[in-house]
């Protein structure tokens, strides 16, 4: 199974990144790995482009970064802000509505009769 290209995730990346932080803080590479493992290897983004997306979310006030020192090197970890939790909740709701509608249309169930 080939990983999906980054373009496929356009429009959903912010929500996915926020979701990786729902259970607690992670650093950039851990977020990327969580996306890859959580999607069964489908979402294997170029790691270097995940970091700018995190910076963008931080600038938007949806996540908060903090520095620590691990193994003698500086590490930046991210956690959700209150605004980030609200946005994640909204993203989940809209995705469930969207996916339910698409599933209804692309599924094998018969189409309703129209005039």
């Amino acid at each position: 199974m080939l990983p999906m290209r980054a373009e496929v995730l356009k429009g959903h990346l912010d929500g996915l990144l926020l979701a990786t932080l729902a259970d607690g803080p992670r650093h950039g590479y851990a977020i990327k790995e969580a996306l890859r493992l959580g999607s069964g290897g489908q979402f294997d983004l170029p790691t270097g482009t995940v970091y700018p997306a995190l910076h963008r979310l931080e600038r938007a006030g949806l996540i908060r970064g903090s520095w620590s020192t691990v193994n003698g090197r500086r590490r930046r970890s991210y956690e959700l802000t209150a605004a980030g939790r609200r946005t994640l909740s909204d993203e989940r709701s809209s995705w469930q509505e969207f996916s339910a509608a698409v599933t209804a249309l692309l599924g094998n169930s018969p189409w309703p009769a129209t005039t």
Partner: protein, 234 residues
């Protein structure tokens, strides 16, 4: 752990060169570039350790990590809008802080010396004073736009304008407007001193002129850097 040691030749030749290739292309303030470099370095080393833990040799792990992180040009370009916003915001904050100080210095110089504006007269070189007002009228909204676009509102503004270039563009406009205002004030006071010799209280004039000269230098440099960042983002 072996993966932690950047002095290892494999890492030096691979990961460190990769990191250097990315950071050499990053725009923005030095401190922000250092922060990005530190963050990427940690990610690269973490990835190396992960691959080695899966059984890869150092050479294999290094090659895999570099492929995993992506092309250095692409990574650096992806950071461009964020670092450009950081740069623009710092310029805007600098202008917002120095603006009132420079303004107060000039007001003090005018009041202490009872210069024409203090007597509600716009004569001689002071006829150019509306140009200062015009520059401030441009700088104000440009600063507001910079602060908005480089902060939380940037995500929403990005739906209607080019999110990447707006902050450095607006900051450059504000910086250039500040330069115009300062140059005009310096020109006015110089012309006034030459055409209306008399006894001045020079201290406030020198303070105001010094403040403007300093701001001209800093604002012009900041505007040039913002324009360079904008050019790199387009």
């Amino acid at each position: 752990m072996a993966g932690n040691n950047l002095s290892d030749p494999t890492h030096r030749d691979g990961v460190t060169h990769y990191l250097a290739a990315v950071t050499a292309q990053l725009p923005g303030p030095p401190s922000a570039r250092v922060a990005v470099t530190d963050e990427l370095r940690d990610g690269l080393m973490e990835a190396l350790e992960t691959h080695q833990a899966r059984g890869c040799s150092q050479v294999e792990a290094t090659a895999a990590v570099i492929a995993e992180f992506g092309d250095p040009d692409t990574v650096a370009a992806a950071f461009g809008p964020e670092l450009g916003a950081v740069q623009a915001r710092r310029v805007a904050v600098g202008l917002l802080v120095t603006g009132p100080l420079v303004g107060l210095a000039w007001i003090a110089a005018v009041v202490v010396n009872a210069l024409p504006p203090w007597r509600h007269q716009l004569i001689g070189p002071w006829l150019a004073l509306p140009l200062v007002c015009l520059a401030l009228a441009v700088a104000g909204p440009a600063l507001g736009l910079t602060v908005a676009a480089s902060g939380r509102l940037g995500r929403r503004l990005g739906q209607v304008v080019d999110r990447a270039t707006l902050p450095p563009t607006a900051a450059a406009v504000a910086g250039l407007a500040a330069v115009v205002a300062d140059l005009t004030l310096l020109g006015i006071i110089t012309a006034h001193a030459l055409t209306s010799p008399g006894s001045y209280v020079w201290a406030p004039v020198i303070v105001a002129a010094g403040a403007s000269l300093t701001r001209i230098t800093l604002a012009a440099r900041a505007a040039r850097r913002c324009l360079a960042t904008r050019a790199a983002l387009t």
